[in-house]
C-alpha cells in the first residue's frame, strides 16, 4: 500500500509539473520613490510618484490605499482590509485610480495629502496592482489566481502638531544567545515605541564581567520604529574567554531623547537549563 501511495504522489506531481504551462509574468514596472516621508503643511501637501514601464508590453496600474506597519524583525506589513482602506482614504488622495503605461512610458501620479486635524503621524500605504493589458479575465480551471502589486509606504507627520510629537522608546527585553564555542554571544534588544511618532533608533549594549571589569560595548544597528510597534535589534559579541556571569546594560537613543537603561545579567548554567537562551523581559530595571 505504501509503495502504491508513493506512486500516486509521483504521478500527481508529474501531472502538475507538466500541466503547469503558464509562464511567469514578465512585466517590468518601476515606481519611485518606493517610500515617501512627508511633513504635511497646515493647508495640505502634494507629492508625486514616478511610474516607469521598463517592459515591452503595455500595463495598467490600478491604485488603492491601505495602512502599514512592521513586524518585530522589521518586515513591513501592509493592510488593505475595509477598515484600513477607510482610514487611509482620509490621509491620502490619489490623482488617478488607474494609469496605463505603454512600453517605455513614464508618467507621474499626483498624491494629495490633506491636513488631518489633531493627527501627529500616520502611516498609509499606496498599492499599485500591475496588470498586463493582454491579461485574460477568465480562464477555466484556474484554481489559484494571483495579483501582484507594489506597496509604497508613506510616513506622514503634520506641521500643525509638530509640538505634540513625542518620541518615546522603552527597552522591553534583552536576550542573550550563547555561541557554540562559548565565546560568541548574540544580544537581542527588543524596543517598543510607546510614543506617537516614528523615529530612527540607535542603541548600545554595555558589557561587564563577573568582577565588574569592562568588556566593552556593542552598538546596535540604526533602525526605524513606528509608534505602537516593537522591533528587535541584534548585536554580536566575541570574548577571548567565557565571561560568567555576563552583565548587560542596554539603552537606545535618538535625536534629543534617550531611553532608560535596561540591566540584565546572564549566567551560562542557568541559560543552558532553559534551552540555550535567556529572556530579559520582566527583569527589574533602574527606571
Amino acid at each position: 500500500m505504501k509503495r502504491r501511495r508513493w506512486f500516486q504522489v509521483v504521478v500527481v506531481l508529474v501531472a502538475v509539473f507538466i500541466g503547469l504551462t503558464m509562464n511567469a509574468v514578465a512585466v517590468s514596472v518601476v515606481i519611485s520613490p518606493a517610500r515617501l516621508e512627508v511633513e504635511v503643511e497646515p493647508g495640505g501637501s502634494k507629492a508625486w510618484l514616478t511610474l516607469f514601464n521598463r517592459g515591452e508590453q503595455p500595463v495598467e496600474l490600478r491604485f488603492s490605499t491601505g495602512m502599514g506597519g512592521h513586524e518585530e524583525d522589521g518586515a513591513p506589513l501592509y493592510f488593505d482590509d475595509p477598515q484600513a482602506m477607510k482610514q487611509s482614504a482620509a490621509l491620502v488622495r490619489l490623482g488617478s485610480s488607474r494609469v496605463t503605461l505603454g512600453p517605455g512610458a513614464m508618467r507621474s501620479l499626483s498624491l494629495e495629502l490633506p491636513a488631518v486635524p489633531g493627527a501627529v503621524a500616520a502611516y498609509p500605504v499606496i498599492f499599485a496592482e500591475v496588470h498586463p493589458l493582454d491579461e485574460k479575465e477568465s480562464l477555466p480551471s484556474s484554481m489559484v489566481r494571483s495579483v501582484t502589486r507594489l506597496a509604497i509606504p508613506l510616513l506622514l507627520t503634520y506641521t500643525s502638531t509638530r509640538e505634540e510629537r513625542r518620541p518615546d522608546f522603552v527597552v522591553e527585553s534583552v536576550r542573550v544567545f550563547p555561541g557554540e564555542d562559548g565565546h560568541d554571544f548574540e544580544v537581542d534588544v527588543t524596543v517598543r515605541n510607546v510614543g506617537n511618532v516614528h523615529d530612527w533608533v540607535r542603541g548600545r549594549v554595555r558589557l561587564t564581567g563577573s568582577d565588574g571589569d569592562d568588556l566593552g560595548q556593542l552598538l546596535l544597528p540604526e533602525q526605524r520604529v513606528l509608534p505602537g510597534a516593537v522591533r528587535t535589534f541584534r548585536a554580536r559579541a566575541s570574548f577571548p574567554a567565557e565571561p560568567e556571569p555576563l552583565r548587560v546594560v542596554a539603552e537606545v537613543y535618538g535625536d534629543g531623547w534617550r531611553s532608560a537603561p535596561f540591566p540584565y545579567t546572564w549566567a551560562a548554567g542557568a541559560e543552558l537549563a532553559r534551552g540555550g537562551f535567556s529572556d530579559g523581559a520582566g527583569e527589574e530595571t533602574s527606571r
Binding site: V25, V30, F79, R145
Partner: protein, 206 residues
C-alpha cells in the same frame, strides 16, 4: 530719416538711405560694424583671460538617488493545480518565482481572499463564490519542498523579508504552493471550480 543721421553722407538727400547701404556709405557702415565686432571680441576675450588668471572655475554637482523598487517578473496570474487531484495526496506546484530589483531592503508578503486559506467553490458563469459552497485546503506555501508549510490567510504573511538591496542584476526568489484535498472535497459540476486569489505585495521596508 532721423535713424540714419549719423551714417548718412548727405543728410538732406531723400535717397540717403539707399546711399548709405551702397557705395561709400556701405563701406563706412561695414567698417563701423567690423570695428564694433572687434571691440566686442576684445572685451569678451579680455574678460575671459582675466577671469582665468584670477580664479579657478568650480562646479559642484549634487546627485541623489530615490529609493526604487521594480518587480521584473512574478508568478502567473492564473495557475491550475491539477484537475484530477486525489484525496490525501498533496498537490504541489512547480517553483513560482518572483524577481525584484530594489536599491533598498525589500520584502514580499502574501494574502488571500479567503480568511482561512481554503479554496472555495466558485461559479464561473455568475463570476462569484457560491454562498456556503464547498471548500478544499487550505492552500499552503513554503520556500522549499521540505517546508515548513504555512497556510495562506487574509492576514498578511511575509514570504521574504528584510532582503538586502539587489543591485542591477536583481534577485529571484522562489516558493511553492501546496494543497492537500480530503474526502470532504467533492468533484464539482461543470461551471464550478475551487478558487482562491492570492495577492503578492512587494515593497521596501520602513
Amino acid at each position: 530719416m532721423s535713424d540714419f543721421k549719423g551714417f548718412a553722407i548727405k543728410s538732406n538727400c531723400t535717397r540717403c538711405r539707399w546711399i548709405w547701404w551702397s557705395g561709400r556709405g556701405a563701406t563706412r557702415a561695414w567698417t563701423t560694424a567690423m570695428f564694433t565686432l572687434f571691440l566686442a571680441f576684445f572685451a569678451v576675450g579680455t574678460s575671459v583671460a582675466w577671469a582665468a588668471s584670477v580664479e579657478t572655475g568650480q562646479t559642484t554637482v549634487t546627485f541623489s538617488i530615490a529609493e526604487a523598487i521594480e518587480v521584473v517578473s512574478w508568478p502567473p496570474a492564473v495557475l491550475s493545480l491539477g484537475n484530477d487531484a486525489i484525496p490525501g495526496v498533496p498537490v504541489v506546484s512547480t517553483i513560482l518565482n518572483i524577481s525584484v530589483k530594489a536599491n533598498a531592503p525589500w520584502g514580499v508578503q502574501v494574502t488571500s481572499d479567503s480568511n482561512d486559506g481554503t479554496l472555495r467553490e466558485y461559479d464561473t458563469n455568475a463570476r462569484e463564490y457560491v454562498a456556503d459552497g464547498r471548500r478544499v485546503g487550505p492552500l499552503e506555501w513554503a520556500t522549499n519542498m521540505g517546508g515548513p508549510w504555512t497556510p495562506v490567510s487574509a492576514s498578511p504573511t511575509a514570504i521574504f523579508s528584510n532582503q538586502p538591496p539587489t543591485g542591477e542584476d536583481g534577485v529571484t526568489r522562489g516558493f511553492l504552493l501546496r494543497v492537500t484535498p480530503d474526502f470532504d472535497a467533492t468533484a464539482l459540476p461543470p461551471g464550478r471550480e475551487y478558487r482562491i486569489v492570492l495577492t503578492y505585495t512587494a515593497g521596501v521596508g520602513y
